[in-house]
Assembly symmetry: D2
Homo-oligomer: 285 residues x 4
């Protein structure tokens, strides 16, 4: 285990800002770099070298990069190439990052201590909450009915399906959830929802709102025409998603691809989640 008394946060969006501010509240001296457009924080260091030098560890953003070549720094005009220069600066400190496989290809990180916080299961579990709440917000905004009394279908009973189905059920919706394993189908029923095999989704119908959480083409033309004609469709699966959006448009079905909800709808909570995940990794060291 090592101490984290001073953390250098390099790049990222509002989540990283809130993560850093929350660390400061916990008594950890966070410094920020390449987030100069954000008015909520001050940056004290003129060079990355100095900032890193004074700190116990480095936190890189989520995602690590959008273009595969520079760090993700939406709150700055700076360009920080993912290259051996960066590697020289940061690799002497423990690094908390996402997409560590990409990072390791951009320099000699063989001696670096790298923690990939996106690999951690608790981060994925915790992110299911802002994702489900974001999906709910989208559903509420786009449906002319209340959630209470609505008929909802959730495709998939992974983390998001579990949290979302519980939320919708608690709000008084009639919730159908699809899964493949008989075990999951059993839990779905025990939790007050109606279980349906994923392969038989097209046999259902009459839904007001459909949420997809499965990252493969579940809602193709046939399925859409069978179950989604009067529904709002919200796809939560990462690109390319599980909904044929072109077909949906052709049929006049309102379909929304909702990506990266935690950072968008609840950046404070998303920052808190990253912080706690990093704390857990430090504690387990």
């Amino acid at each position: 285990m090592f101490d984290i008394n001073k953390v250098c946060i390099i790049g990222g969006d509002k989540r990283q800002v809130y993560m850093g501010l929350s660390m400061i509240k916990d008594g950890i001296n966070s410094v920020f770099y390449a987030m100069d457009k954000c008015t909520m924080i001050d940056e004290d260091y003129s060079s990355l070298e100095r900032a890193v030098e004074k700190c116990d560890c480095v936190v890189l953003p989520m995602p690590l990069s959008k273009d595969g070549e520079t760090l993700f720094t939406p709150l700055s005009d700076m360009k920080i190439p993912l290259d051996s220069t960066l590697c020289d600066i940061i690799s002497r400190k423990p690094i908390f990052c996402t997409n560590s496989r990409l990072l390791k290809r951009t320099g000699d990180y063989s001696r670096a201590v790298i923690f990939d916080y996106l690999d951690r299961e608790e981060l994925a579990v915790l992110n299911a909450v802002p994702t489900a709440e974001g999906a709910l917000e989208i559903a509420m905004r786009n449906s002319p009915k209340t959630i209470s009394g609505s008929s909802c279908l959730i495709a998939g009973y992974g983390r998001i399906g579990k949290v979302l189905s519980k939320l919708l059920y608690a709000m008084g919706a009639h919730v159908t959830v699809s899964a493949r394993k008989i075990n999951d189908l059993t839990w779905i029923r025990l939790n007050g929802c109606n279980p349906i095999e994923t392969s038989e989704i097209a046999k259902g119908g009459g839904y007001d709102i459909i949420f997809n959480t499965i990252p493969s083409m579940i809602f193709d033309r046939n399925t859409l025409s069978a179950v989604a004609k009067n529904a709002l469709v919200i796809d939560l699966a990462s690109a390319p998603g599980g909904v044929d959006f072109d077909e949906a448009a052709r049929m006049g079905i309102k379909a929304i691809h909702a990506l990266s909800l935690p950072g968008k709808v609840a950046p404070v909570t998303a920052g808190e989640i990253i912080k706690n995940t990093i704390y857990n990794m430090v504690r387990e060291e």
Copy 2:
């Protein structure tokens, strides 16, 4: 009891449209008048006289009027004065309306059978659901945190307070609810929330979101400065509401006055609620 086989719906917003369409699904022949801008329906009658004549009863909008002089007809350019001409046309049929006191002052309705559906308690109870969901949607959109884990205050434990507190609690918020009667404070605690006397709201604090449901000035300058500094404030009480919005603006507190939520966030459900209330009144006759 009388039959309603053919209903004449005169004026109103989308709620009345959806109410009529839902009646049609139930086998009741609804006709619409003064809603010509709405593309979801056809109007078959050139004159109000004829439309009313063919029907068993008349449904007037909610609200009855915005200016006190003409019927509320936002979906038409027609002006229908609330006067003795209208009275002559509609008063021979049972009338379902809101604000029946105003209506009765505009003509000789002494022999008319008038049902005020806004007076019905089940309509108020049922409307608490879209109101609470609308408040939740506003809270989600304007808060950088998830509801789960947020600290919420609800001032007032009437219908809206009851539904909203249940919703927030089920979503994992820490919910404080204010009430005056010891009885209500007891129920609040039994339902998993933290009870606080309304007169002592200013003694609390640390809230992320504050919902007001009490139609009197609860959140004046002092209370705002005591409990709302870092909070989002959503006022659900009808005008003039219970929040000093000028003071809130001065303090940099985000405060939102959310009115008439059912019709705005869930017109289908709101129409359904009016329909069922009318059905109940018919059944009880």
Copy 3:
């Protein structure tokens, strides 16, 4: 407001014992009288006069009396007549009691300060919890099915109906609740249960468990034969109750009259409830 630093608890069952022990934990010096058979406490005073003299107030038991002539003292062989002698001893101190109307008839209490804690609504609300849990325990013990998946009827939507329906619903039962007011029927539906008019109970059916909370003859021969043939019937209404037990026996229906559940199933909680009710009364003085 007056202080309660030393309380004299006279008679009663385990609830009064636990009430006193809980007061002691709060720093209030409780003394017990006429509870000598209970091994959990010591009685320090040889005479009632002395015990009362040293205290700030007196707490009488629930119920006040079973025979109408002596205090209810099931934990002692003592007989304490409700008469002017008792009145002389206790009437100079504030008295917390139940059935104050009976007490006042047994002596000159015209100058006494009497608080009837059974009249308090929060006590009734809070007692709904141990009553509902006790009813649940009886149901579980006597039903060969799990509550989850069972079909339950609750007659009446007062305090007990509200708490019990919430409990059964949370456990996964299919819950039908009867009420008379449309308002209550609406709340029942909003809370996930199936509403039915009390006058139409006999039209339902197929119940596994029936709970009655209405203190009038609801489950007479006709209703029993219509809805209870294969059901377990639990009557929670105070004597004479709302179930024709003779008819039930004749039909081979298992029917249980469950009275005074709080003291029986959860005396610690029941004592805590009385204590908190007394505290509330002191605070409001």
Copy 4:
């Protein structure tokens, strides 16, 4: 897939009786053998050969045997040895049984089609419900407090821990759940309970009721003395369980070993669960 139109149920307790009766309701002609003491059913066959011959399949009891040598037939005085005679009779039909490993050692079942319904995960999931309800019933009967407001510890977050924690939380208890994986600890928190690492159970305290679901010695002398002094302890782990009952007795702690709850507290539901598990196995064939 094969048809099951006529099922021969051999031995077992009430669960098998209710399973058979429920099959009959579904239109399956169940016949019973070696359950002659049960008055709820008739046995039509004088010999096992004939009974089996007329049927499509055979259902053996749960457990298969108590003594390892004869079939478990608590509802009959018959002794049916687990031997090659039995094998000759039943092995030509599909066999649904428990402990198939034992069965296979008692005869030449090499050509038999054997389904072990106790191996099925949905049976284990579904049995978590009667187990949790049975545990709750025991807790209610033995605790002088209501569940609402009680402080409960559940050791282990497997199937029973999941269902039981949800139940207790819904009833208003303060629920602490122990687990080892950070993932589980995260879910525990998301579900409104307080997570604690199983290795740190001894650091907690103040519990009213402790439920153990872990089949290893968690509650040894040290842990009992740290957390259980004033608690009721209910061990749900199969023998030898996870509680040192001798030490508990020595310390005056009330500890209950609750085994095989589904069959005891809810035989109808338990029979239904076995039936549905068999149906699932048939469907998947």
